[in-house]
Symmetry: C2
Amino acid sequence: MCRSLIPPRTLKGFRDFLPETMIPREQLIDTARQVYRSYGYLPIATPALEHEEILLGKGGVETDKQLYRFADHGGRSVGLRFDLTVPLARFTAQHLARLGLPFKAYHIAPVWRGENTQRGRYREFMQCDFDTIGTRSPVADIETALVIHDLLHAIGFDRFTIHVNNRMLLTGLLERLGLAERAVAILRALDKLAKIGRDRVADEMIETAGLARHDTEKVLQLVETTGTNQQILTEVGRLVRGSAGGEAGVERLAELLASLQATGVPEGRIRLDVAIARGLDYYTGVVFETTLDQLPAIGSVCSGGRYDDLAGLYTHEQLPGVGASLGLDRLLTAMQELGMIDQVHPLAPVLIAYFDPHRLQDYLQIASSLRAAGIAVEVYPDPKRLGHQLKYANRRGFRVALIAGQDELAASTCQVKNLQTGTSNSVSLADGTEQLVTEIHRILDGP
Amino acid sequence: MCRSLIPPRTLKGFRDFLPETMIPREQLIDTARQVYRSYGYLPIATPALEHEEILLGKGGVETDKQLYRFADHGGRSVGLRFDLTVPLARFTAQHLARLGLPFKAYHIAPVWRGENTQRGRYREFMQCDFDTIGTRSPVADIETALVIHDLLHAIGFDRFTIHVNNRMLLTGLLERLGLAERAVAILRALDKLAKIGRDRVADEMIETAGLARHDTEKVLQLVETTGTNQQILTEVGRLVRGSAGGEAGVERLAELLASLQATGVPEGRIRLDVAIARGLDYYTGVVFETTLDQLPAIGSVCSGGRYDDLAGLYTHEQLPGVGASLGLDRLLTAMQELGMIDQVHPLAPVLIAYFDPHRLQDYLQIASSLRAAGIAVEVYPDPKRLGHQLKYANRRGFRVALIAGQDELAASTCQVKNLQTGTSNSVSLADGTEQLVTEIHRILDGP
């Protein structure tokens, strides 16, 4: 009989994760959680599906188009979340009384976008957000930068740059020039600076925001300020002088830089960069982007900033806050490219060969006592010939194989094979597994 | 101006998780991962969305009805996974060559079902599956039981029962009675035994499976066998004698019980229970259900069993295996009811009061060195009055508050307040934060 099979395949833009990619992914998420927790951020979770009215229109025209929308069993219009910011806003508005303020949350979960996969984008990817809600304090800005720094460092990156700006600089300048109400169109143009160059950005500001040519010059002068962080602070301070918002922005940046230095963040890792704008009018204060010095082309791996009003669509309460989002997929790609992901070893380093079927309970007992001693161990399930089992052990990357046939067990011993060097030692089991544990640790901790 | 707001609400049957429920949930998942890993299971992940043809018809009529289905942006028929078994089957068939056999996987992810919420069911819930694929070995059966046992024990349960059966007993008996081809209808009837009683089950077997009354008696006699595990083994052995499958089933159960005993699983935690059938014809060998002795009504918190053919719909390769699934939501409910979830403390136990705005960098430095010493710490973001900050600390469940104004810092000291007792100690910061770390540990580790 030849049944017709359903072809086993994933949807375009969706991925399976095999253990070799899933293990570093889980490690990365663990590290993020650990760093978030060390700063007092607490975990939250929201549903994958939301009422369509919660999601629609919250991320712009493009995002609306990419939204996975459908009618559920009750005929309700629903959608899969496309980011974690909109669900966080809905969540905070809904549970405000129980949460209390300030509220520090982290949120790690997949999001879905019907992206054009030709651009190499995935339609399902993981976001790792953290936010401090309900305070305008510079402390929360500083801690956000510290978390980004600690996170990259804890993951194992050494050479990275956190680019910092404050939206108040540009807002202040525009106020002084009487152009405050054109900020959105100007930001939209400035966002393209790296891509299309200063001349075309100036043209766009004239066309879409109706700026005079000499005002485009002032705006470009601000965002093109270069030099050391201190030089930029001085120069930008001069450019926004007389604007209360602009001066406050300079002051907050100065405090941020001083505080990061005081807590031991190497100076080279923080760069004032007045050109980074981070999209549209959501952000109102400090903004962050993080690049890897060896792979700048990969783009920002951790971005965020301060906002004035997280949940204005869902509550009359104005909720200021600051947060950022770790780009998990980009980071994993980068770690692969930089050779930062070790050759994958199985999570259990020890394989017990299933040698003699009459001795199964001995193997199970040894496995149990090793687990009790904190050593993860797998018992090969079938009494196949030893060569076959050792081939499996090598292919899977086990570090140690335990081999004990009738002779060994009758003599209360066990062969401990170092699978990297190929050498074996005989270890006594006469007094329990203590010696065995020592020998395994010697191999695992060895060079 | 009074904007009209979008009401912040979740969909019926969907839940937000606030930190007080999310923290134990994360802990539970961590524990599951740790136990799975200690046995050599490796993590995998599959997409939330699958081609509809992968999902449809794989879980029965009811499941098809509950499937969240829609057309995606490319007009493809897609659906949200309703369990992790079907995606695992598709995954294994698709990646078989790369995975190799035997393959041990764990898979922790949400699934979606458009359930009737009036039955108290959720439409989004987490599953935690683990499976050993590609072997018929009893070792894999035994390890599955050991994982269930270690898992419940590691979570903190003391009084629980793993109910064990083997489908081969009934299959063997039916073979002997010449009723093998009616097994599905008979199993379907037997599954209702606890609910509708033996008489109505007998009637159903006569009606739907066409059994003779005296055969229903034999079937019921088998599944109603009671006594100690040893008594049941003997009695069941007598009932299936002469059927090769039935006798093999008895032998495997005997080996399972002996092996669990040999590895130190307390005898009272394992109960032979010939009545458990676990649904339809998917399982072919050992089956497991796990109940909490103090809350039997909550149902099984970890169930699974052995199957002959995981992925027959997607590949001609026959893949036998064994696995089980942890009922995360039920377990959390049980832990809450049994008072096993501690009063929620924030993940950062130490709050640094923001006392003197001119001393912010001192507070940030203290926070950094405490984090470097492994102590999670939050800096209150605003220099509000101390009473307000201490109220926040108490409401959030912080254990320790650090208070340092200008006088303390000028004298290189810091007040360490134990928030449970209300007492304070002054600690010197003259030689760094070493003394501070000691004092904090004294409070955190204290009674």
